[in-house]
Subunit: 249 residues, 4 copies
């Protein structure tokens, strides 16, 4: 059907194959859990791609037919080929949305679009995490309340080395004393980027209803817009004047 | 029908009654021209309100049932009652979108939400005006090209005393040598605000297809989001701790 | 001496006169404590002004000779005359810096320059407060570390109804479970505005070294810049074209 | 001397050696002209580095002792070694300022810190160029008026594929009908970045007084701040909780 948002959920898909504990939470991988959830939403059609597929599952055909790419990676960021990162980068600049989840803060593609180190502080003791809404007019918080909690979460703390967001949507409180800019939006070229902190491989976070709501909202916010006749972002055309140049002017 | 965006187009509606020239372009007023155009769009239902109606047409009932308010004013900004401005301001902070058109840069409500003087340079000789897209990923430019032209336009030039926009969508080039931030977005409370420069009472600008496209897109971008249980923005509640406070902590 | 930054510290100065407890911390008022601290810094000369002086101490002469105005108010915001707020607003738009401290979030002048309700959540149990630096390249954090703590503080929590800051410098963690954007910068007209959360009348917060460092840095960041021949921001001049307008163009 | 800002002006230095016309304007290279101008300013000490020196003149020692790096390149961006770009990138994230001039929009280092293609439209017919100030409170415009003109300039036009700036300082008008965000600021890690459009190798733009003023102001704005104990941005430390984690909390 036309006007359906075409999402590809990318996952490195290693943790789930190595750990029974993780496999119990995400039997077919985090990507499958997210894609299944998204396919239950009206107007969204989600597929998946994983690291060990040829071209990491991100062939030209897949990328061309993806409106929004969701990225989850953790232990194998360095295995993602630069040539694929280059292609994904170009697609983002030319309109594809990108949603980076949790440990994807350190993925090559997220660091590429940010231009910063994307480093942070972290701790893994399953402490309590509360996300406060700081942009209640933003479509990504549609359906939420003032805050929501994730009972056991890996801590990510400031300083988070990202550019100042174009919109800062969530700030997190952690029990151990840290804060974190846990939901943030940026424009890049014709594309849009959203980073969202929740989501750890050993915790059932992508089954959490508010987390699912945010991801669904973010997919809609990231949707490409139809600008007409825009150049490919890699091009820098030499152009003729639109106005007559007169010396007297 | 549910989920229909309810728009109110407000106009001071004075120019049209005093000038045959203007009446020829907008026989039932600028508000009617914009509302008629919007009512032809799917999912939008637009009504109107004008200065000389009781409460300027902006009763509590009208405001409560308005998702997005479009504002056009020019010669009678000072006649708008402060009590109505207060109410509109509160509605914006609590989620209603606001679109300020052209000379509404000097309206009480736009100045109120900006916090600045909103002054600018101007000139009225009908020169050529070209609006360049500077945020090609923003939904407000959906359907446009790299730029569009308005053949005869009142010039508005920098410095435009507005806060730095949360998203700068258009920058204008004027034949006489000025530039202008002519399309700009801000978040305010739970509401969203868009300023759009084109539109002069003696020129048929609201019959221009790209201008109509931008206004329609802006209405959709300005739509309220459903946050659950958010306080009225005028309230500052004294709250209990969400966590146990221990001295040892 | 030339090039000295001229600061005026404004205080409503009521709490200190009514409470022995507060008077013990600030014997000559919060304004005097801050001005004394600033006068010990090189290149800064600070005076004071208070609510009960004629024109609240903010005569035309004082305002004209103030580069940066620091504002502290709490119980008597409503007693500040609108005519004085108008003048202060104009001075900010024409270049004067403004630093709003703690409960000044609800002052008339801060709400005026923000355009929002500036409401927040609050609680007064003296809990622990930790401010994290989120803009380590910003001059306001010069001399600080990754975070600093204020041992007993009034809690201010999100949602804080402010426009998205032009630079978000601090995010606060509170023991009771909230977060807060506790240091934020905005441009307004030719002026600059900084909001800084720490500072409660019954707590010796303005004797805290990091708090003093931030206020001093903020004064320097807020310094006016010398633009040449800029109009008063209240003016909207009708101007001649800078370029020849030709029909063929 | 302490507190002196240490600037390194980097130039690919090829045009000047190949063209008599360019050599006539910049006999010792653009880098020398800029460094000489900066060395005449109080509190600034400028050196130079060029492409054909070992390590492009940007040894570890030079980078460690550089507070602000100015970059000019055009025809040889691709000859800059990635290993050097990596080092410069790290220095920026750890506090060094970066000023990219004119055709440096396409330099590897500017594209790296932006995360976008940094492409634009261009035309080289020496048309008139007028830069309008859009942030009159920003220290980079200190000493300027509302606008300034560069009589003959290469045109750079929108869409300029950069992230939305943290502060947009100049917007340019070009005689041929285009506009351009010609002065823009971003925070990156602990560093600051400024892009400034004027400056073409065949035109004496760096002898222009307002252009010199802007570059000098930008050097001061880009100065590193002394944050204490901040980690290297490449590090992502695993940290202990600052607060006691209790299950009841």
């Amino acid at each position: 059907m036309t006007n359906e948002l075409r999402v590809t959920v990318w996952n490195e898909y290693r943790h789930e194959k190595r750990s029974d504990e993780i496999a119990a939470i995400y039997p077919n991988g985090i990507h499958d859990a997210i894609a299944t959830m998204l396919n239950a939403q009206p107007g969204i059609k989600a597929g998946t791609a994983t690291l060990d597929e040829p071209e990491h599952g991100l062939t030209d055909d897949v990328l061309t037919n993806t409106d929004v790419l969701i990225w989850w990676g953790h232990m194998a960021h360095h295995e993602v080929k630069d040539a694929i990162v280059d292609k994904v980068h170009q697609r983002v600049l030319n309109g594809m949305g990108l949603i980076a989840l949790h440990s994807a803060h350190f993925s090559k593609i997220f660091r590429r679009v940010m231009g910063t180190a994307c480093s942070l502080k972290w701790r893994e003791i399953g402490e309590k995490h509360r996300l406060w809404v700081t942009a209640p007019g933003h479509p990504i918080v549609d359906g939420l309340g003032e805050y929501f909690e994730v009972p056991h979460c890996e801590m990510y703390g400031e300083f988070f080395d990202i550019p100042q967001p174009d919109a800062l949507v969530f700030i997190s409180w952690f029990q151990g004393g840290e804060v974190f800019r846990s939901g943030a939006c940026w424009y890049r070229g014709r594309g849009k980027v959203f980073y969202f902190q929740p989501g750890h491989e050993t915790l059932p976070i992508y089954h959490h209803s508010e987390v699912q709501q945010v991801i669904t909202n973010a997919v809609r916010w990231c949707a490409p817009v139809d600008v007409v006749g825009f150049r490919e972002m890699s091009q820098a055309p030499n152009v003729q004047p639109l106005e007559k140049i007169s010396d007297e002017a």
